[in-house]
C-alpha cells in the first residue's frame, strides 16, 4: 500500500537514532571539500558507492564555487571599481552555486535518502564545517 508522508511528519513521528558528521577534508588547503570516507554507521542503510557519489558531487560543486577563473576575476575587479556597491544589486557567483547545491541536496534527499530513513543537512547551515546525516529509526523494524 502506498503511503504519503511528508518529511516533516516523518521527522516528528520517527525518532532520531543517530547523527553522523562528515568532516572537512583539508588535504588540498582551505578549499571547501568534504571527506569521502564512508562512515560505518551508514553501512546498513545505504550503498557505499551511492553515498560517495553524493559527497563527490558536492565537492565538485564547492570547487566550482571557489574556482579562480576569469569570471571570478572580472566580478572581483568590477566590484572593486564600484566600491563594492555592485553587490547590492547583483548576486555573487558563490551565492549562485550555493543555490545550486541546496537544490541538489533537496533532490538527493527526496530521491535517495528519505526512502532509506536518512536526511542530509545542507553544510551551509552548519557553517560549511560538516555534512550532517541524520539517521532515523527504521520504522519497519519496530513492527
Amino acid at each position: 500500500m502506498a503511503e504519503t508522508h511528508s518529511l516533516q511528519d516523518m521527522r516528528q513521528q520517527a525518532a532520531v537514532a543517530a547523527k553522523v558528521f562528515i568532516q572537512r577534508d583539508y588535504t588540498n588547503g582551505t578549499v571547501c571539500q568534504f571527506q569521502t570516507k564512508f562512515p560505518s554507521e551508514l553501512e546498513t542503510r545505504i550503498d557505499k558507492q551511492q553515498f560517495e557519489e553524493t559527497v563527490r558531487t558536492l565537492n565538485n560543486l564547492y570547487a566550482e564555487a571557489e574556482k579562480l577563473g576569469s569570471q571570478s576575476y572580472i566580478e572581483g575587479c568590477l566590484a572593486c571599481l564600484t566600491a563594492y556597491t555592485i553587490f547590492l544589486c547583483m548576486e555573487t557567483h558563490y551565492e549562485k552555486v550555493l543555490k545550486k547545491i541546496a537544490k541538489y541536496i533537496q533532490e538527493q534527499n527526496d530521491k535517495i535518502y528519505a526512502p532509506r530513513g536518512l536526511l542530509l543537512t545542507d553544510p551551509i547551515e552548519r557553517g560549511l564545517r560538516v555534512i550532517e546525516v541524520t539517521i532515523f529509526e527504521d520504522r519497519s523494524l519496530t513492527r
Binding site: 521527522r11 583539508y26 588547503g29 552548519r126 527504521d138 519497519s140
Partner: protein, 334 residues
C-alpha cells in the same frame, strides 16, 4: 525492508528546526518568528535587522570617520576654491571620488561579517567529544586538544576551540574581543571596530590603499596651495606665464586662466619656453652709459640748464649762496 512511500516536496531548511522546538510549533505561531542574529552567541552588535554587524566595542571607528570627514571638509572648504581658480576643476572631482571610495571601503570593512564561524551544534560537539575524549570525564577540562592533518604534504596542527566546541579549520583564529572564531583571521582592528578576516580583508585593503592615495593627494594640494600663495610660488607662476606683477595685479591679459590660452601676447604658450626666455635668455646690456666720459663741450648745455634756475636763486639769495649753487651745479654735470 523499505516501504514504498511517496514523499511530499518540502523545503529542507524547514527541517533545520530541532525536534524539541517542533513541539513548540504551535506556541511559535503565536509569537513573531525570531531571527538568528537575536540569539547570536558572540559579542557582536547588529543593526538593520541583522544586515549590519559590528564588534561589541566599536573602538575608535567614530574617531576614524571623524578624522577623515573633518580633514576632507577642510580641504574642500579652503584648498579647493583657490586651486580650482589657479589649476584645474578636476582637483575637487578627484578629491571627491577618493573620499567617497575611502568612506565606502571603511563602512564595508566595519559592517561586514569578517568570516565568523558559527559555533558547533550540541550534536556536533558531542560527536567530536566522543571521537577524542577517551576518559569520558566531565569534571575537569581536558588538556588542549590538537589534531594533526596533512595539507599539501605539510603537517598542520588544528587546535580545538573550547568556546566554539570544534576543531578550528586551518588559518582560523578565535578573537577574544568578539568572542568568535574567524576564518583566515588577520587581526582585530580597533580603527575599524571589527575583525579583519576572510570576508572583509579586501575591503580593508582597499580602504588603506585609497586612504593613502587620499592623504597624499590632499598633502600635495596643500603644499601646492602654500607654494602658490608664497612669493617664490607666485613668481614661479609669473615666470612660467611670462607676466609681470604689474600685469597680474591689473589683470591686463587675464581673461581665462590656464598656461596656454591666456590673452598675454608676450607668452610663448609653453611653460618651458617662458621660463627659458625669462631666466636664461640673453642678458640685455645696460643702456645708461654710467661710466662713460663726457666730452668737454657737453658741460655748457648742462651748465645753461642750471643757469635758468640760477637767476631765480640770485634774485632771492645773497652772493654766498650763489657761489654754493654754482659749485653744486658744476658737481652735478661731472
Amino acid at each position: 525492508m523499505m516501504k514504498n512511500c511517496e514523499y511530499q516536496q518540502i523545503d529542507p531548511r524547514a527541517l533545520s528546526v530541532s525536534p524539541s522546538s517542533a513541539q513548540n510549533h504551535t506556541e511559535k505561531k503565536a509569537q513573531r518568528p525570531r531571527r538568528k542574529w537575536e540569539v547570536f552567541p558572540g559579542k557582536n552588535r547588529f543593526f538593520c535587522d541583522g544586515r549590519i554587524i559590528l564588534a561589541r566595542q566599536s573602538g575608535v571607528l567614530p574617531l576614524t570617520l571623524g578624522l577623515i570627514i573633518v580633514t576632507c571638509g577642510l580641504f574642500f572648504a579652503f584648498d579647493c576654491p583657490f586651486l580650482v581658480e589657479h589649476l584645474t576643476v578636476f582637483i575637487p572631482v578627484i578629491g571627491g571620488v577618493l573620499f567617497v571610495f575611502v568612506v565606502i571601503s571603511l563602512l564595508r570593512t566595519s559592517f561586514t561579517d569578517p568570516g565568523i564561524l558559527p559555533r558547533a551544534t550540541p550534536d556536533e560537539a558531542a560527536d567530536i567529544e566522543k571521537q577524542i575524549d577517551t576518559s569520558g570525564s566531565s569534571t575537569y577540562r581536558p588538556p588542549p586538544r590538537t589534531k594533526e592533518i596533512l595539507i599539501n604534504q605539510q603537517v598542520v596542527k588544528l587546535k580545538y576551540c573550547f568556546t566554539c566546541k570544534m576543531f578550528r579549520p586551518p588559518r582560523t583564529s578565535h578573537c577574544s574581543l568578539c568572542d568568535n572564531c574567524v576564518e583566515r583571521f588577520d587581526h582585530h582592528c580597533p580603527w575599524v571596530g571589527n575583525c579583519v578576516g576572510k570576508r572583509n580583508y579586501r575591503f580593508f585593503y582597499s580602504f588603506i590603499i585609497s586612504l593613502s592615495f587620499l592623504t597624499s593627494f590632499i598633502f600635495g594640494c596643500v603644499i601646492t596651495h602654500i607654494t602658490l600663495r608664497s612669493q617664490a610660488g607666485f613668481h614661479t607662476y609669473l615666470v612660467a606665464s611670462n607676466l609681470t606683477t604689474n600685469e597680474d595685479i591689473k589683470g591686463s591679459w587675464s581673461s581665462k586662466r590656464g598656461a596656454e590660452d591666456s590673452g598675454n601676447p608676450y607668452s610663448y604658450n609653453s611653460i618651458m619656453t617662458n621660463c627659458c626666455v625669462t631666466l636664461c635668455g640673453p642678458m640685455p646690456p645696460s643702456l645708461i652709459d654710467r661710466r662713460g666720459l663726457l666730452p668737454p663741450d657737453e658741460a655748457t648745455p648742462a651748465a645753461s640748464a642750471s643757469d635758468i634756475e640760477l637767476p631765480l636763486f640770485a634774485a632771492k639769495n645773497d652772493t654766498h649762496m650763489e657761489e654754493n649753487c654754482q659749485d653744486f651745479a658744476l658737481s652735478c654735470t661731472a
